[in-house]
Symmetry: D2
Subunit: 463 residues, 4 copies
């Protein structure tokens, strides 16, 4: 997609699971999984899939594309059973393909396993080598297949022993939902880097990456899965174990800044309100004299509203988004320079002409889009264009399940703020401070992983 | 699409045209047409097409689906020539199909014709019968084929004479772009019901339904095509004729209220600012005592911002939109009642809980969606939910190119405001008055067609 | 399809029609049309379509591809009515596309018309110009649209008058099946160049290009439609008119030699037996001393069997066909020279090694395939390779609905037999004589059009 | 495919491999693999795939459908490397899907493995359990994945040791082609049930299920791989090992009777000539007084020619095949009884009317098709219809890679010959005797597996 405005970090996956106590009826579990997945589409647009157990075997359907492209009425009809997991995956480059799509289903000594995984392990090379030495073969390059092999090897006795042993071996970030023929299991890494929450769906348990998925199916939020916790759900109910002690939390701070849906509440903090607070704090830290605050839609909207409120400035939608943007491979003509951003955004001349304004966005990755927007605003007649960013400079890559660009592509890894300002052509440029960010998020810097800003990686960095 | 929140009027088409003076090079005309069309995608999602003339013949490509689904790099490569028109069409029900997609291309005595049409004629039955009596056959049920037949019949001498005669015969609403081997022609009905504007694309002329399409390709706005005007563009430049005298303007008021992109400026009025003004006027007319203003995204956002500003109330995004909504035919389970709206929208509990709020939307068509949203806000803890609508009640169907539902489906055609309030379950309900609407749009009620509100049809009502 | 062995003339269309007297039930008419079409697939692989009338309106479905690719169960379900026509079209090059696919359906003064056409008119330019002068527009370049326009113009009073007038105007080759809301009409050009026959399907009439289509649905052959005859079938039964007097028959001789299915009987002569007789006559005319007769499958099989029988020689399948040949665009590697023919045919070494043999085919078009086969047989060990062709040299293009290559591509238009022999590398080469051909077909040379051999065109040559 | 005439046994797979010594150039290996696969399409129409090694890694492309549907020019372009394997798989019912398509590619301790497998193991349950006990997980239900796991487990030292150990464990029928980064390996089960041959492609080695694939790419046949032989091909050349002693050959006799291409030569016997000999022997064993021999095309053609020659009777194509049969799901109307066979075959009235004839086919599976053909011939006017079958009654299922129907569907497993004759409605019915069959195939019954006729399974029967 040469012309997409993709100057953003990308989340890599969303997971959902549901365990219905009643016997299967009208594919209820698959249907609920579909709707839950639909609500998590923003977490991955490459592939989608659902696996369902009917107590005896696990059926699977997955494919490349959006949830609504992959899951059709006949798909649902074929997914019989009362326990379902579902997965969306981020659109990385071509080589990946269907072989790496999830959920994955395996036969092992005790029966069948279905896995859906969000995150990234940091000790895969070691684990892979160790398993291969014992004779394992791998058909994919995913962490998920590795977890399944590990689990099979450790579950010669009981699955629960196997899960506990696995959790000791797995390093990195993961929110996992696993099903067997008759159980659903949720696991979160010992620092809780990736989110996972538990809900009540008319007396049944559901698991999801974000609370917005609970809301979509009308389920009530119960609680977040704790760092290092394993919950096992079956006809007896839910039991929890915590074989590894969590040294500290390290919730991904970028979920609040950009990834998660604004209507989700993760580990106790509502995303929309977090963004407003980040915007307010940004206003307090910035020293810009302007007439107008405009957001870069949609990522900067909440922060811009907070900024405007705190700064006592008018807020207007000076940039409009084309709501029907799809993938295109048509090359622009010579005449259409700097076109790509215009396919997504357009400046509203009547709003910005003659104005001194500050545009607010959540982050700057490579800087090219910001540069194009600044230029577009100037062409539309803006007298001054300032930029305020509701997070610190993103200088370090993520190893925990986020597709940051490579380090050399991160503009903040090679330029000072003043250089970035010159590059994007703004009259001034303010980033939120780390301290300000944590303050807006409740004040406790120890709760979060902010390695992409600080380079302080909580659990190793193997990719 | 059983579960789409489609409780909105639908525009029926968007048109775009470009005439490049230089000889064809790297499919510049087709490329520009593609990008222009892309910017007009909101005006129609059923089909898309581009027709290009190379001076000798007209090549055509069209198909069912979104612009990016229909137009591929190889499509562009095959569309050789320097004059292009493009068309998007609204997704009506199944029977339509590719046969009615546009543009349409015809061979006639003088050569070839390509037509792209937005609007609806009101005297088609008469024209059709008259043409058939002379031996015409029709392969579609479109107005466009009818216009082509009429034009062919009238153009035994010159095309310009034929165009003038045509314009005398055609009743109703239309914005037409026509190409021959070496000309591009723009025509607007004599009351200017549907929009059409002219731009300068590096010294070349472009025509488009909305200025946002000009912005997308980097063209400069020149002026709107006048009601009843014909512009003919060829290597000599542009010449205009006005064979029918326009009795008065009747610009579609709903383009400002809902259809057009906020970043477009139609007949001198910016759409976003119009919506803000409608919101401000609505605040002046409403008598609601609340803590918070929230929009129904995205249709109510601009009006809600205007409302909040005028009322001096805080504005927050209390309803969040799922940005990845696609068509789905999966039926919800019994447990998921009232689900459909949740697929698109979700209330942010932390924002609305405990609040007295007013939600602002642009219109209410059948009322079912508004009812679901009110209920969702109450479930999220809102103490009071009021609703304010930035236009008058929509009681009458449109015959000029808009898909309103049938009259009996329009809630305002069978209920008083108080009954509607009870139906949607709001604490109070305010509609903008007709007078207020015109005042917000500049004060001159004579400039607009507001038949969907008033039943005052400016040019007849045959469908 | 670079590597297809396409060294054959190609038929351009097949038509089928059915009129059921009982009211529509379970889509009987559409189903019968599907099966009839399926039996005529060899007459065209580019597109397929079915149009059905339910007494009030005509529904249409058509698409690019084979019959089984275009017609699906849901297609059939949507084609309601008791009168159906169907059409397959030959795969010509890319530019054609869906716009030229058939049947075509038109609205005209009296109602609706559906047309399916096999053949080629020779006065289209004149007719087109004449119609355009009166104001007709054309959306395709097909003869079919032209016939519809002519018919509409002539049918201001009754359709039957219109048909009669049409038949006076139309020059060239055509087998037409037309439906209105309540009638089915079959027409054959005045020399009967293209075939069309009538059958009895459990008391109902069917029309088809070949009797094999009747057999497939279990219908009984009644008779061939006569040259210049119009049959009109409705609830009253069948009535025939013959407004133009047929000067003489000119049945396409190539239908017997190659196009038609061997199990069809056209105008009284069974195709398989005709081919055997051609082979026998060829044996009588050839002077070749060999051990073995082998066919070029499948086109030469019947003639080779006749040849072997007449010559008292053993017959063996020395060349085997790959039954699963599909379109491929993969280019062969440098090592695979002369590969293309091997994808379709392979010599059976154990049969041909050490043998003096004659290979029999129905015709030679460009000669390149024959050359490759001769070489392949020699490489497989054949001691002598002779070739015998069961028709005369094809030196002239067809203007009556057959895709011969252009004249300069026909090897026999530029080389003498001895030169062709040298080109293909055979030890000897025999063509059947014109006299021999007519003798094998019953002796009456006046019954046939053999313009592709003789250049004697019975009705003009405009393309 | 409800209406396919599928009254035949089905082969399950075809395999092909090529090892080019020169470095990769223009995707030569992938191209050769494509063409080889194309020649083996009759061995499987469900899925197709190619895996290619470039010395460092193995790339894979596979999909559902015919070779030409799955492999496109861009596929070939992406398959870089000088070593390739390819696979076609038979179209079994829906549940299979892409997950079971081949080749399969695995990462293991020593690197990568690609496998293509034709056949069926008979000790899979034991092997699977044994592997699972050591911790293996399985993503498919294929033998191929099992072989890969076994090989990985056994190849901790060298691959060659691993292969030898594998061959000791694997029971049943298999022709395997395996590639590593730099080797190609061919393996055939110890009785040589499934075929595998070696060829010389301009100085490079190729492996294929049938010699017809060698012919297609212009390779020369070298020899068949011996039962129980492993050949390892790399830059050093070819080395062979034979770790298991072959107790006796058990070549699948049905390859000669029906499966293999007539132009292939398997283990020294040409398939076409074998079929002729079977037909001749059948004539010697039958006692039928008729005027004419006709084949059931294409399966009975060679045997019918042999029969006619031996019996001194005329041979004619009294049944014609529709060459364009594709999958269809259209249900026939009530009027079209016994339709299904007519979609594929049609009797030529002019040939069969008034004749006493014998129709020759290779086998009868369920008998329903034969019954329909006999009836069709009688309706076409045949005076007597006898049937002769060029193999013994098929009474037992195959466990070695052939899809026979289940035993209860095999008509010969529940009826005597006379009952079958009555069922199909023939005047008389002759099957070839087992002794006659072996005599026609060279006289040595010990060389073949004829379990489907005799129930004498050479190596166990687990499915």
């Amino acid at each position: 997609m040469p012309h997409e405005v993709k100057d953003k970090f990308k989340d890599e996956c969303g997971v959902f699971g549901v365990f219905l106590k009643e016997p299967e009826q009208e594919n209820d579990a698959a249907r609920a999984a579909f709707y839950g997945l639909y609500a998590l589409q923003h977490r991955g647009q490459e592939s989608a899939g659902i696996a369902v157990s009917d107590g005896h075997k696990i059926s699977l359907h997955k494919g490349m594309g959006l949830v609504t492209e992959v899951i059709k009425p006949e798909t649902i009809k074929n997914l019989k059973g009362n326990i379902a997991i579902a997965h969306v995956r981020y659109s990385t480059t071509g080589e990946s393909g269907i072989v790496n799509a999830q959920p994955m289903v395996f036969h092992y000594l005790q029966g069948m396993l279905g896995l859906a995984h969000n995150g990234n392990l940091t000790n895969t090379a070691d684990l892979r080598k160790q398993l291969a030495t014992y004779g394992s073969v791998f058909q994919t390059t995913t962490d998920t297949e590795l977890v399944a092999n590990l689990l099979a090897r450790y579950s010669q006795d009981t699955l629960e022993d196997g899960l506990n042993k696995c959790l000791i071996d797995l390093k990195g970030a993961f929110a996992l939902i696993i099903i067997t023929e008759d159980k659903m299991i949720g696991i979160r890494d010992q620092m809780g880097i990736r989110p996972l929450c538990l809900g009540d769906y008319e007396g049944n348990y559901v698991l999801a990456s974000e609370t917005a998925a609970l809301d979509t199916i009308g389920a009530k939020f119960i609680r977040d899965i704790k760092p290092g916790e394993i919950v096992i759900i079956d006809q007896e109910g839910l039991r929890s174990s915590q074989v590894v002690k969590s040294p500290r939390c390290a919730h991904c701070v970028f979920e609040y800044i950009y990834f998660a849906r604004p209507d989700s509440t993760l580990d106790g903090i509502n995303v929309y309100q977090a963004r407003r607070e980040l915007g307010k704090q940004l206003a307090r830290e910035s020293d810009i004299d302007v007439d107008l605050v405009i957001p870069v839609p949609d990522s900067g909207t909440a922060a811009a509203l907070g900024y405007a409120e705190e700064a006592g400035l008018p807020f207007q939608d000076g940039l409009m988004k084309n709501r029907y943007v799809g993938r295109t491979f048509i090359q622009p003509t010579q005449k259409m320079r700097e076109l790509s951003v215009r396919l997504k955004l357009n400046a509203v001349n009547k709003i910005v002409a003659g104005k001194r304004l500050v545009m607010v966005d959540d982050s700057i990755v490579r800087g090219t889009t910001s540069k194009q927007i600044v230029q577009m605003l100037r062409e539309a007649g803006a007298k001054e264009v300032h930029m305020a960013v509701s997070s610190p400079p993103t200088s370090y890559p993520c190893y925990y399940g986020i597709d940051t660009s490579r380090r050399e592509e991160l503009i903040a890894s090679k330029m000072e703020v003043e250089e970035i300002r010159q590059f994007i052509g703004a009259d001034s440029l303010y980033y939120l401070s780390r301290e300000g960010m944590f303050q807006a998020l409740g004040g406790n810097s120890e709760k979060y992983c902010d390695a992409c800003f600080s380079g302080l990686y909580p659990v190793g960095t193997e990719s």
